[in-house]
């Protein structure tokens, strides 16, 4: 559970920067790298000279980020759900049925 918020400020070359306030129970080093990488990806896309290519690549980038964000959300929900369910017991019983000695 998040216990509070923490503000991060990341800087990239050429005066690119971002400030983000996030739950404080995430690893700071990883959060900063994630912010830096996401921003860097946008900067990289901005360097495409042809406008249609910039938009095409930006759509791909956005859809990819959304896909990962969606996976993160459902993975957390699944992990929390499994922790509170009897999935481990079900698998253990199946293992016993399939792996017992005659």
């Amino acid at each position: 559970m998040a216990t509070g918020l923490k503000t991060y400020k990341v800087n990239l070359p050429n005066e690119i920067e971002a400030t983000a306030t996030l739950p404080d129970n995430l690893d700071s080093e990883l959060v900063e790298m994630a912010l830096q990488v996401v921003l860097g990806g946008l900067v990289a896309l901005s360097k495409a000279t042809a406008a249609p290519v910039r938009r095409d690549f930006l759509i791909r980038y956005l859809a990819s980020v959304i896909s990962n964000a969606d996976t993160a959300l459902h993975s957390v929900a699944m992990s929390n759900s499994v922790e509170n369910s009897n999935q481990k017991k079900i698998i253990d019983e199946l293992l016993e049925n399939l792996d017992h000695d005659k």
Partner: protein, 144 residues
């Protein structure tokens, strides 16, 4: 409850103390599994008299194949339970609106201008343009 199955050269009766009544699709799928097992056993027992080494190789490979299948079944069950949890409705506090402030699919749709752009997004975001439907690969396809 018993499951009875037969084919050319063999009959099988499967009875388990705790076997509950099965629905028709369940019975059909499980009969198919038993039928396959019966066919495998008969295919070995009816091998012509050949070099014993060949028979041993066949038997070893059948055993290896079925052992691998057993592992696959455990993985499949684990995967099915995991996928069920993955696709279960998100609890309050973990819904898209709570976390992102909007619905991901709707938000993405709102910024795309053409079908071509939607097709590009669909390559990366699997639930984009996702449609419900049978993949045609259910247990009923086991029996041929």
């Amino acid at each position: 409850m018993k499951i009875q199955e037969s084919c050319k050269g063999w009959t099988m009766e499967y009875e388990a103390q705790l076997l509950r009544d099965l629905t028709e699709p369940e019975a059909k799928a499980l009969q198919g599994i038993l039928h396959l097992a019966g066919d495998i056993v008969v295919s070995y027992t009816q091998l012509p008299e050949v070099d014993p080494t060949i028979k041993q190789m066949v038997l070893d490979n059948i055993a290896i194949s079925l052992s691998e299948t057993k592992d696959d079944i455990l993985t499949t069950i684990d995967h099915a339970l995991t996928m069920h949890a993955y696709h279960a409705p998100l609890e309050p506090g973990l819904q898209e609106l709570d976390v992102f402030g909007f619905n991901l699919k709707e938000a993405l749709q709102s910024v795309l201008k053409t079908d071509a752009e939607a097709a590009i997004a669909a390559e990366y975001f699997s639930s984009f343009n996702e449609e419900e439907g049978d993949d045609g690969d259910g247990p009923e396809d086991l029996q041929s």
